[in-house]
Amino acid sequence: MSVLQTISLEHLPADYVVHIAVYREVKNSSSLQEQLLAGNTEFEYALIDASVIISKIQAMSAAYRAVNDLVENRLRSRNVHSEIVFSLSPNNNIAETFRRFGITPTTTNLLVIKVSTPSQPFSADAVQEHLTKSIDGTQAEFNDNVIAGMTDLARIRKIYKLNTVGSKPEKGVANAKAERRELEMLIISSMALRGATN
């Protein structure tokens, strides 16, 4: 059964869609990363370590920005897929981004994003087929519950420098759910302001 999600994000041209999949217990992270680094064109995906993802919205936000930048012709990285990973970053240090957000040999939970564009269209079936073939792991549904189970909050707080959020209950963050929501908001904002905060 395919749990790959295909999304037409708001305010993008109609012929750009994103396909998103989640995998747990991935065993071949090393070789997946190698393929990516080798520039193998069959492996043009955004391969993201799911532990640094707090929610669906965060992942889609990165996808939106990257595709928007593609459409406006202002990619800063090699292609739209590397740009998605870059769009997760709070700063402009591209090299650091892949170390922090991208797949590494130790990645066990993986978020995969594929962009279908007019010049390079990919159907959901084609993507699902290729992923099933290439990823040694268990596919899960792309939803917030699944993702929450994979999030490494401490790591996220460190990367986005959000250590103080939620630590003071009087600042209005009453419970774990609200705290998570607030973190998610701040992460989205940091991504939006990539490199421009001072």
Partner: protein, 264 residues
């Protein structure tokens, strides 16, 4: 609140791309247009603030200014939000195209709610000064919110009752104190909006002027509530360490009074 468009208004190019619902123009200021739209998904509403090109400015200057202002506003919103100041979240920024997408705040501006409340009381026949608990509560919350913003080193630059919102409660959080059920008009978290003229400052003068502009806004828009502005100031005075000094400075600003003639 929609606006009747007399002259064709520029849509930001982003709104030309397909989306589930048509954009809704909310307000049209001197500087920017505010639309209600969606972010990423049809179910996630957002506020889109768009600064259109100004034909009188040299294009280089125009682009430079627009980019700077969009980024500045976004930065200040993030800075405030990070420190717990109640402002909308930033969703996306495109300074090159002149727009910013913000969290949609469901609710209404204080200006409207306050006038509704005052009118409701008048119809009920309640005398001024009676049963003012709700109004006092609102004033306190306003003072606290502004104090929090000043406390983190940001001044708003345009504090009026149109730039303060009362956020509707999400249905999941039904609470106990439904007073008589019906007219909880003044309830809700105070959210400060429109940081288009905001700046980083810790000067008493800037903070005092912020308060003075708000005071005069109450005076000219809600004269019947003006008497309770001292409740705002009292709550403000307790909100951060440097606040009492600002209140002292406010007295000087009042004396100088130029801003009085500006809004009077």
């Amino acid at each position: 609140m929609t606006s009747i468009l007399q002259y064709p208004l520029p849509l930001p190019p982003i709104l030309a791309h397909p989306s589930s619902t048509a954009p809704l123009l909310i307000t049209q200021g001197a500087e920017a247009l505010l639309y209600k739209s969606t972010y990423l998904l049809p179910s996630l509403p957002c506020a889109l603030k768009y600064r259109p090109r100004k034909p009188y400015r040299h294009p280089t200057l125009d682009t430079r200014l627009t980019k700077h202002r969009i980024l500045s506003e976004a930065r200040l919103l993030l800075k405030c939000r990070k420190e717990g100041v109640p402002v909308p979240s930033v969703y996306a920024v495109d300074e090159g195209q002149g727009w910013l997408m913000l969290e949609w705040i469901e609710g209404e501006v204080v200006r409207v709610r306050l006038n509704e409340w005052l009118r409701w009381r008048r119809e009920k026949g309640t005398a001024e000064g009676e049963e003012e608990g709700e109004l006092r509560g609102l004033m306190e919350r306003i003072g606290e919110a502004v104090g929090m913003m000043h406390g983190v080193g940001v001044v708003h630059g345009d504090l009026t009752t149109s730039n303060l919102m009362l956020k509707s409660r999400e249905h999941a959080e039904v609470n106990d104190h439904a007073e008589g059920g019906e007219e909880n008009l003044l309830a809700g978290e105070v959210i400060i909006i429109d940081l288009g003229l905001a700046s980083v400052s810790r000067f008493e003068e800037d903070r005092a002027v912020d308060l003075y502009v708000l005071e005069r806004a109450f005076g000219s828009t809600h004269p019947r509530a003006e008497g309770l502005f001292e409740v705002v100031l009292e709550a403000y005075g307790k909100s951060f360490k440097g606040a009492p000094i600002v209140l002292k400075r406010l007295e000087d600003v009042r004396m100088r009074g130029r801003k009085r003639s500006m809004l009077g």
